[in-house]
């Protein structure tokens, strides 16, 4: 089971921009006094992955292609609510370049530019109906709008 580092999506403009939150808790196994920067990046990437896939109505599978740049000026700590803002900068049939900023109370705890790549159909894993249903339930739990309103 993959770990999901997003607690909820607050806003999603399909293929354009997304806002999500991740609440930092001391109960997570890898959190000490500070939340690891690598996981702030992972949360941004996961937000970007959903944003990129939303452009096709979640019909495509995607993977991380490249992280162009990343910086973590300030640490996040247990009890913080990290706001994850990601926008699609450039989109092509093969993938999307995203810029993301993670903030806590307006202070930047992470920012990155990265590329999400869409898997061609022949490389995408077979769609097991059981797994698809689990995935859709997870997306509903994260308040990701599966259908266009």
């Amino acid at each position: 089971m993959r770990y999901v580092l997003i607690d909820r999506f607050l806003e999603l403009e399909r293929g354009e921009r997304a806002r999500a939150v991740k609440c930092v808790t001391r109960g997570e196994p890898f959190v000490g006094d500070a939340y690891p920067s690598a996981l702030v990046l992972e949360a941004l990437l996961q937000t970007g992955g959903v944003l990129a896939r939303s452009g096709s109505g979640f019909k495509t599978m995607s993977v991380l292609g490249k992280v162009e740049r990343a910086a973590f000026p300030v640490e996040a700590h247990p009890g913080d609510r990290i706001q994850l803002d990601v926008r699609a900068v450039r989109t092509r049939p093969e993938g999307t370049v995203c810029e993301g900023v993670a903030t806590v109370d307006g202070k930047v705890v992470g920012e990155a530019e990265f590329m999400i790549v869409f898997l061609p159909e022949e490389l995408a894993p077979p769609q097991d109906p059981g797994v698809t249903e689990v995935r859709r339930n997870l997306m509903r739990a994260l308040a990701i709008p599966l259908e266009e309103s």
């Binding site: 092509r92 049939p93 993938g95 370049v97 790549v117």
Partner: protein, 128 residues
């Protein structure tokens, strides 16, 4: 935009995408063979060229995924004359002169040089 300006901008795009010094990015350098480009880098280069030159690159127009679909184009690992004509049509901006001297299919990736990118951009800008 003149050829030198096109080259300077293409050079920067490729250097940025591949994490290389600009000095290493010269017209005769093949993206894969000399600059160690990987598949993800071709997409990055495509994004960069679109942004810098304000052009739209259609899917498979610059870096076709599958070039030779017809058996008549390749025989015993060598691109046939029919295959070379097909390459000319598919990649009108490629320099095929050297390739013709030794048209092994394994040499096709070497066609994709920095110079090819410059020719492509020049073609796109002149048709805009």
């Amino acid at each position: 935009m003149d050829d030198q300006e096109i080259f300077t901008k293409v050079q920067k795009c490729v250097a940025d995408a591949l994490g290389r010094d600009e000095d290493e990015v010269q017209p005769d350098k093949a993206l894969q063979r000399d600059l160690e480009a990987e598949s993800i880098d071709y997409l990055d280069i495509t994004f960069q060229l679109e942004k810098v030159f304000g052009i739209t690159i259609e899917k498979d127009e610059l870096f076709p995924q599958k070039i030779f679909q017809d058996e008549a184009y390749v025989r015993d690992g060598v691109v046939t004359e029919q295959g070379i004509e097909f390459l000319k049509e598919k990649l009108p901006f490629a320099d095929l002169a050297t390739f013709r001297e030794d048209p092994k299919v394994t040499r096709v990736p070497d066609l994709f040089t920095v110079g090819l990118l410059c020719n492509y951009v020049k073609m796109k800008l002149s048709s805009a």
